[in-house]
């Protein structure tokens, strides 16, 4: 097993606040790894440190053995890390197809001269890109909606389009930030299956921030719990839901028994 992503004592301060506090994580390739924790625990900041939006104050981030520190977000994207956002951030006034095509930016090579001259190489590349985008639309179940403006799509479709856009760069690691936020139970369960398909069919390693415990417990192989920026627990779903620290910090004392029942039922 190769290690996809490693962080060593990753730390980020905002003034006097320690948003991410000495976090060590090891994520195996092809895993579904969840990060949970109460609001303000530093989960999204952790993502931002990995993707190059924030410069960590201390620590190391290794992606397949190579350091990501000091890289700008676009360089991190080139290395094969892609992400979605807690509040959907599509290019609202572009069509769904175009959103996916922008996602392919890092894979395409056309320069401005190529674009003006329509060199055969670029025409071929462009044709393949459009073809690829259609395939991705089909994959996320948005076939036929490709020419709609992103902002006109229904909420669930926007979530899936955002994932399709993230997939367009053919990432090795996909960071999902609350993909089921605002979804009803039916949509949530669809999203859960969909995330599993991403891993099984495309072989992408998935790092997941999620609040819905049914999703987290149902699909993750490993879970890390953050509280006040620090990792307070890590382990398999069963280990996590019995962990007294986690129950105190996040799940609440009533949750543990409830979750065990959920676990007993087939997901």
């Amino acid at each position: 097993m190769t290690i996809a992503l490693e962080t060593h004592s990753l730390t980020k301060y905002f003034g006097g606040l320690t948003a991410v506090d000495n976090v060590d994580l090891i994520i195996q390739e092809n895993a579904i790894f969840s990060v949970i924790g109460p609001n303000g625990a530093g989960k999204t900041t952790f993502y931002n440190c990995i993707t190059g939006f924030y410069e960590p104050d201390n620590g190391e981030v290794l992606f397949f053995g190579k350091s990501l520190l000091g890289l700008s977000p676009d360089q991190v994207a080139y290395r094969g890390i892609s992400r979605t956002y807690q509040n959907i951030r599509l290019f609202a006034n572009m069509s769904a197809m175009e959103n996916i095509l922008v996602g392919q930016h890092s894979r395409l090579r056309a320069t401005w001269m190529d674009a003006i001259l329509h060199t055969p190489r670029v025409m071929k590349e462009e044709k393949e890109a459009v073809e690829q985008a259609r395939k991705l639309l089909n994959f996320v179940g948005l076939a036929g909606l490709g020419d709609q403006l992103a902002r006109n799509l229904p909420y669930g479709a926007q979530r899936r389009l955002e994932i399709a856009r993230a997939l367009a760069s053919q990432p090795k690691l996909l960071l999902l930030d609350e993909p089921t936020a605002g979804m009803n139970p039916h949509e949530t369960s669809e999203m859960k299956d969909f995330i599993r398909r991403l891993r099984d069919e495309l072989g992408i390693t998935i790092l997941l921030i999620e609040h819905d415990m049914r999703v987290v417990m149902g699909i993750s192989e490993q879970i890390a719990v953050l509280d006040y920026g620090a990792k307070i627990a890590e382990g398999t779903p069963t280990e996590i839901c019995c962990n007294p620290h986690v129950i105190e910090a996040y799940l609440g004392s009533g949750a543990a028994s409830g979750l065990k029942n959920t676990e007993a039922q087939p997901a």
């Binding site: 676009d74 290019f91 572009m94 175009e98 922008v102 320069t111 003006i116 259609r134």
Partner: protein, 526 residues
């Protein structure tokens, strides 16, 4: 019936006030002159004791009357679908009220005028001639009666016409047609076929090209000059469209690159102050190149700023260039405020360009070239990256877009287009001075991009036509030109906030489903 009655009365009052106001600012006379120009009937024989000018005014008033009638006969809420009765009734009442207003006004001013009161001391547009025109050179009572009858009749006619054509009926029919065409588009039916059928597409291009070729030959010198100016603004607009419309960088100092293009052309090809007398075709690429380099040099530090800050810095830069050109420091180099005269023109196959027609063709060529380049860029990886940056800069970075590089590219290409426009502009005018490059140019270009429709080539062209062309067309109205122009802008932005021709997305997914295979290639450049 009661509701219809009230609606008609109110409409009549509104239109009565509108028409009275138009008369009080003297617009009736101006409108009559405009219709006269349009119909070329100024020297026609009098008809029923009415001079052509009066007839022209009556055409104008008649149109307003028709409009009033059709408005007054609007279907009122809760009204049953009775086809003609309420419409005729509404039109009649509206016309009557409208007519009453105007006839009272005519009676009033007519009587005052007949008594020798000089109305134009109070309302300076109401000259005796205007009053005479308004009451049709008859006695005030006759004139007033005529207006009453005339406007009632046109109101009635408007009501009947609107229902006859079915005001609500044609609106719903229009709506239906619109829906149909939309569904056709979404079903990738005939619309796509036409669009992707190259024969039709190219023949449309061909017709447009032929029209563009013929236009300058038909137009007079003044119009050719105007067309040229509009053309230069189209160039500027297309350049700024890349910067503002696509990449979302608000550049208020765009005129600086225009100035650099113009001054490069001027200094290299004019006899004074340097006596270089270079060929136009050599100076042109140098002008474009210098503008591009300036764009990059300015952009490198400045593009780190966003939004308003960027706007302020670029605004300052635009003014800096103008003031620098005027300043004493550069007087020996640029002749300072005196400007550079006798700028050389191009020659092609030994034929010097000396008329405005030649330059119109040159400008058309430049515009076509720029449209081609913009179109290709827009529908490429680069164009998509620009638009993504405009939509959400942070996310576009996470998508692997090097935003700094793309912004610089957009800035440089925009500057290059402005340099091209400036060089041609200077060469055509044969003179250029610092005052050609005032802040107003930048503001005008930004306005035309916004009014036309951001990020859209036809929109920019429409914007240039409206902003630079319309004031010339409105020249008839002299003092009201700016007023009407401003009002039009306000109305336009209210009705079409996304611009005259809002940008539309290229369809990519259904294209294939329509079974049009070859469009995946070059056909997509449209």
């Amino acid at each position: 019936m009661k509701k219809q009655f009230r609606h008609a009365i109110i409409t009549g009052i509104v239109f009565g006030i509108i028409t009275s106001f138009l008369f009080l600012i003297g617009f009736t006379g101006i409108a009559a002159d405009m219709f006269g120009d349009l119909l070329q009937n100024k020297s026609a024989a009098p008809f029923m004791n009415l001079t052509p000018q009066m007839l022209d005014m009556l055409i104008f008033l008649g149109l307003i009357g028709l409009w009033a009638g059709s408005n007054g006969s609007h279907k009122v809420k809760g009204q049953t679908d009775d086809p003609i009765g309420p419409a005729v009734f509404g039109g009649l009442i509206t016309g009557l009220v409208h007519g009453l207003f105007v006839s009272v006004l005519a009676l009033l001013v007519g009587t005052l005028d007949a008594k020798g009161v000089k109305i134009n001391t109070y309302l300076y547009q109401i000259l005796p001639a205007v009053v005479k025109l308004f009451i049709l050179a008859k006695t005030p009572i006759q004139g007033a009666l005529f207006h009453l009858v005339f406007l009632t009749a046109t109101g009635l006619l408007g009501g009947i016409l609107s229902r006859g054509l079915g005001r609500s009926a044609w609106q719903s029919r229009l709506q239906k047609k619109r829906n149909e065409s939309f569904s056709k588009i979404s079903q990738a039916g005939i619309f796509n076929k036409i669009r992707s059928n190259r024969m039709i597409l190219y023949s449309v291009y061909g017709i447009v090209l032929v029209l563009l070729f013929l236009l300058p030959l038909r137009a007079g010198q003044y119009w050719n000059y105007t067309i040229g100016t509009v053309g230069v603004y189209v160039l500027l607009g297309l350049g700024l469209n890349i910067v503002v419309g696509l990449a979302g960088l608000l550049d208020l100092g765009y005129v600086a690159f225009f100035a650099i293009g113009a001054y490069t052309m001027a200094l290299l090809s004019a006899p004074a102050p340097h006596h270089l007398l270079w060929n136009f075709w050599i100076a042109l690429p140098i002008g474009i190149g210098l503008a591009t380099i300036t764009g990059i040099l300015l952009g490198a530090p400045v593009l780190r700023m966003r939004g308003d800050y960027l706007a302020i810095v670029t605004l300052g830069f635009g003014e800096m260039i103008r003031i620098l050109l005027k300043s004493d420091v550069l007087t020996s180099f640029t002749r300072g405020p005196k400007g550079v005269p006798s700028i050389g023109g191009p020659t092609l196959f030994g034929k010097p360009f000396n008329s405005d027609i030649d330059f119109v063709y040159l400008i058309f060529l430049a515009v076509l070239l720029i449209i081609f380049v913009t179109n290709r860029l827009q529908n490429s990886r680069i164009g998509r990256a620009w638009e993504a940056m405009r939509e959400d800069e942070i996310v576009s970075r996470a998508m692997g877009i090097n935003t700094m590089k793309q912004k610089l590219l957009a800035f440089a290409i925009g500057a290059a287009f402005a340099g091209l426009g400036g060089a041609i502009f200077a060469s055509r005018n044969q003179f250029t001075g610092p005052e050609d490059f005032s802040l107003m140019v930048s503001i005008n270009v930004v306005a035309l991009v916004i009014v036309g429709g951001m990020g859209n080539i036809p929109g920019v062209i429409a914007g240039a036509l409206v902003l630079k062309g319309l004031p010339e067309v409105l020249r008839q109205m002299q003092d009201y030109r700016v007023l009407i122009f401003g009002a039009l802008l306000v109305v336009m932005m209210l009705w079409r906030p996304a611009g005259l021709i809002p940008s539309s997305r290229r369809r990519m997914e259904v294209e294939r489903d329509a079974g049009v295979q070859e469009t995946a290639g070059e056909g997509r450049e449209k």
